[in-house]
Amino acid sequence: MAQQIINTILPDALLAQTQQLKNDGYRLAAISCTSKDDLELTYSFDKDYDLMSLRLHVTPDDAVESISGIYAFAFLYENEIRELFGAKIINISLDFNDNLYKTTVKTPFGVKKKEANDGE
């Protein structure tokens, strides 16, 4: 079985690390996001069936630089995450301005303000 590594990094180091991985021949496989107390962004890269992930924790107010300059096709993932989670990803190459899915609920997956909101 191929291995899975998750490296937690600081948001500032994202671009440099991504560029490094691209130079090593990695392919961007997915960008995932999980919201709990903050937003947890996971950038997964693949090379020869090994999965390598970069993880960063941000709050919805922190600006995260887009990696679409390095991997052009990241724009879809980033638009999705920004629209559904409310992460502040800036400088996306093809920007849909939160009109990718056009959901009725704004940032449905976003960080919950209070747990009580959910139970109604």
Binding site: Y49, L51, L100
Partner: protein, 359 residues
């Protein structure tokens, strides 16, 4: 310098059964740019993990998409099993592999029919779908459902296939192979079909990697990328080589899928032959805690299932990165420079599955 026009394509379009909307920027008849606007099928079912517990969510996962329904269920179950450290019985692994390959077969036949419809070859469409019904019969006999099987469960599979059913599968595979050979001759050799597919929508190997293409789309451009090589389920015990073509046009993508049909038939035969006896499900106790990325090869390419659990009945997050989502940038790139009349054929050669993409 011609006239620039923007033609809206979709969401309701006779060729595509699914709603997708594209704004095609045309320079006379040539497409200069395509801007997708999706969201017609966005249901937000990843959010349902908060309302359905991890056992019930299997049924939601199966309904992400009706074409590769089984593989979605399987991917979800595999990711939860990996988190919980559940080892599924060997027979279950083989049955999963068999059903997965049968799903790939029916999906490729479905796609063949739709492609034939897109270039206006009605009788070929009908024949492809006629052959496909044989596979649906196997599904109904072994699992009880034609489209959505509800057969995968965490810890194994819920239904077993008896020896009689396995024999029937082998005999159906024989007739299927003969019929497919006839049909695929038309796709690969007929001059009117080749006229529509050869040299259309070129995607070089470098571009395929740079645009993140997966599955048959990437393999048709010479990129050897097949998640089945990870050896999940029973794939580790079967012998096969990924199908790779190098031309990178619509014809190569057709050829990849057609060769995969024969490969799948072969894999199903291997599965039936090697099928071990034993239980098909193990009891699962407790709740998952942890996270895992599961990757598997769907008919349309690599799918990534990411599950994160917190030790309760409800998972924190399930994230599905579906193959069409990864293939859209490559589609937009190949659309540039083709004529308006070729757009449906080009869209179909990526084998789009919009309900997967938008979830």
């Amino acid at each position: 310098m011609g006239n620039r026009t923007i033609i809206p394509f979709g969401p309701q379009h006779p060729v595509l059964p699914e709603p997708i909307h594209l704004d095609l920027v045309l320079d006379d008849e040539t497409v200069v740019e395509a801007i997708p606007s999706i969201g017609y099928i966005h249901r937000g079912l990843e959010k349902l993990v908060e309302k359905k517990d991890y056992l019930q969510y299997t049924y939601v996962a199966e309904r992400i998409c009706g074409i590769c329904s089984f593989m979605h269920g399987m991917g979800y179950c595999m990711s939860v099993e990996s988190i919980m450290g559940v080892e599924i019985p060997e027979r279950a692994a083989f049955l999963r592999t068999m059903w997965a390959e049968l799903s790939r077969l029916q999906s490729h036949f479905l796609w063949m029919g739709l492609l034939a419809d897109a270039f206006g070859f009605e009788s070929l469409f009908m024949h492809a779908w006629r052959v496909r019904e044989r596979i649906l019969d196997i599904f109904e006999q072994t699992t009880g459902g034609r489209v959505i099987f509800s057969v995968c469960d965490i810890g194994g599979v819920r239904k077993d296939a008896n020896a009689q059913a396995l024999d029937k599968i082998l005999s159906v595979m024989d007739t299927l192979e003969a019929e497919t050979k006839e049909l695929t001759q038309v796709f690969l050799n007929d001059s009117s079909v080749k006229h529509r597919t050869c040299g259309l929508g070129m995607l070089s190997g470098q571009d395929a990697i740079a645009l993140g293409a997966v599955g048959p789309m990437a393999r048709a451009s010479g990129v050897d990328l097949d998640m089945r090589k990870l050896g999940y389920a029973a794939y580790g015990k079967l012998s096969f080589e990924p199908v790779v073509e190098t031309a990178g046009d619509c014809y190569a993508r057709t050829a990849v899928r057609i060769r995969e049909i024969f490969q799948s038939i072969d894999l199903i035969r291997q599965c039936v032959r090697l099928m071990p006896e034993g239980d098909v499900i193990v009891k699962v106790k407790g709740n998952p805690d942890g996270e895992y990325f599961t990757r598997l090869e769907q008919p349309r390419g690599e799918v990534i299932y990411y599950s994160k659990a917190n030790g309760t009945k409800f998972l924190d997050r399930v994230r599905v990165r579906t193959p069409t989502f990864a293939n859209i940038p490559a589609l937009l790139e190949t659309l540039k420079g083709c004529t308006l009349a070729d757009v449906p054929v080009l869209i179909l050669t990526i084998d789009p599955c919009i309900s997967c993409t938008e979830r």
